[in-house]
Symmetry: C2
Subunit: 330 residues, 2 copies
């Protein structure tokens, strides 16, 4: 089935570009025989680290978008940047999806300005699959749409439900709204109105509110929130895991017995941390745009890139865009 699925891959985005991006492209082509990859970026630099492969192509782009640049300005002005060139390929239909480990803001801006929104979707959402106790809590939005209207949150719920079902394989995903308490009287005006709106739609498996402490305990398959809250909560969680690791290692270093204990415990700790590894869950999809646009982690090495390619491939194979279209126009 060679060439069925074409993915544009920003070779210049992220901390380990272009070498780890190229390595990831190679590994993915070995793993999946139905994909073609177009690497966008500086041809010379890409060639210097790419193992040639018949299904990997290069599209030259001479500019790079810096993480510090104003996202929308950068997308508008740097027409020959590796990210914009990748997104143009999706817009023209030369690729069905694109992936970048570069600036999140620029990916969101490019998704809206270049790839374009799906008709009926007012705002896009970035969704993160958060591994919880016995499931994956697909959480959106974590930063694409800072503040939302109730209608936006309804659309996030619809898109999240499709992603959870089609890509993460949850048969009848339960959707909840992130709030400051589980009782009906809780919530701010936006969340209260969104709750009524989602309930009145009736075609979602909607479970009401979820509190911050329940996310990790398998209490919802899809967690819906405004980008501002989602972003703060996600980063807080990341910081907490990082902080606990650092504080524990400080404590462990104070005692020889603790050091020995840590060595014996290490395989279990490693397994635990692997559950939270971004390498496993294949990037953050930008839902609501006319293509499988995924943000890979900025620190991505080749396994994380393979994982993102795998998610994009699945999204394209399952025809995620048509699914969202159908749900929205219902």
């Amino acid at each position: 089935m060679s060439g069925k699925i074409t993915i544009a891959l920003d070779a210049m985005g992220g901390d380990n570009a272009p070498s780890e991006i190229c390595k990831g492209a190679n590994s993915a082509c070995k793993e999946f025989d139905d994909i073609e990859i177009i690497l966008t970026g500086d041809t010379e630099r890409i060639k210097s680290c790419l193992e040639p492969h018949p299904r990997i192509h290069i599209e030259h782009a001479c500019e790079i978008i810096d993480p510090d640049e104003h996202p929308a300005n950068a997308i508008r002005k740097k027409r020959d940047s590796s990210l914009r060139v990748a997104m143009e390929m999706v817009r023209r239909g030369d690729a069905q999806g694109c992936i970048s480990a570069g600036s999140t803001g620029a990916i969101v801006a490019g998704g809206v300005l270049v790839v374009g929104r799906i008709e009926g979707i007012d705002r896009p959402a970035l969704g993160v699959p958060i591994p919880s106790m016995d499931n994956i809590a697909f959480t959106l939005d974590v930063g694409a749409t800072v503040r939302c209207k109730p209608e936006n949150l309804l659309q996030f719920a619809q898109m999240g439900s499709i992603y959870s079902r089609k890509i993460l394989g949850v048969p009848n995903p339960e959707v909840k709204l992130l709030s400051n308490g589980s009782e009906d009287i809780k919530g701010d005006d936006t969340v209260l109105a969104a709750r009524e709106l989602i309930e009145s739609q009736g075609n979602l498996n909607f479970g009401g509110y979820i509190e911050g402490n329940e996310v990790l305990f398998g209490k919802a398959d899809v967690v819906v929130c405004e980008g501002f809250n989602g972003n703060i909560a996600l980063k807080l969680g990341e910081g907490l895991i990082q902080g606990l690791k650092q504080m524990l290692s400080e404590e462990v270093n104070k005692s020889l017995m603790a050091k020995a204990g840590m060595l014996m415990l290490y395989p279990a700790v490693k397994k635990l941390l692997a559950r939270f590894s971004y390498e496993k869950y294949g990037g953050t999809p930008l839902l609501g745009v006319k293509g499988a646009v995924l943000k890979a982690h900025g620190r991505s090495k080749s396994p994380a890139i393979v994982s993102a390619i795998s998610a994009a491939r699945k999204f394209i194979a399952e025809d995620g865009i048509t699914q969202i279209n159908r749900e929205i126009t219902k």
Copy 2:
């Protein structure tokens, strides 16, 4: 200095009332010779578990506010509840502060409706001292005021700064606003406007934005946010610590070596977790009301009650209310 500081203590609030509350009152009176405690609640039940002490008194109250009740309704209707009676004592000046391990909502409602707001403060804030890498990040609001105006956030910044300086002992506390990124262009409308407002005041040590992942790394002494976000973030953090503990113990139980390792590591883990123990940091002050009103953790046992009493005592001794008054009327 006997009898200088009088604290009303809701004997019936929390999971371990009244026995652990009474025990805490006894221990606190042994530790501090300048306090008087008035336990509010069912006299018979209190007497059955209280070790008599010349500086502990009982004020009878025959009702209890249930955690499931609508907070404001409960405060209005249950005039003879242990919580309302404690708050009435502060209102009348019979006590300078009160503490309850009962319903957070009812404590906030009682603080506003019974104790009353400090003149010039539009909304109260609940502040939590979050132990970070090398300092305490005093975070407010975590649930008293769901959505805020920029003016509310400015007042939270002012009150938080005073609490950090006077009660937590930070000489020149750096105040930051919780946001979805550290760059100036980030933030929602409320946070952007609050930032300008706080900067224009000029009398705070203001450091701009703080992201979720920085809170635990000593990047701010005071973290200001809307109650909705603060509540979600705080609960997410609590849930994450709880979830990690549970997942780790599941992994550990699969291997004998890991079990042995865990035993050897346990003292270090215990030390680490003790840093995050609510027993140490003395309850959550409700700032902005005319008295030292503190919420103790619902699961409080006697050491947590002692700790809350210690914080209330310090707040009263440092004349926290006058300090806030002075700052607000500047």
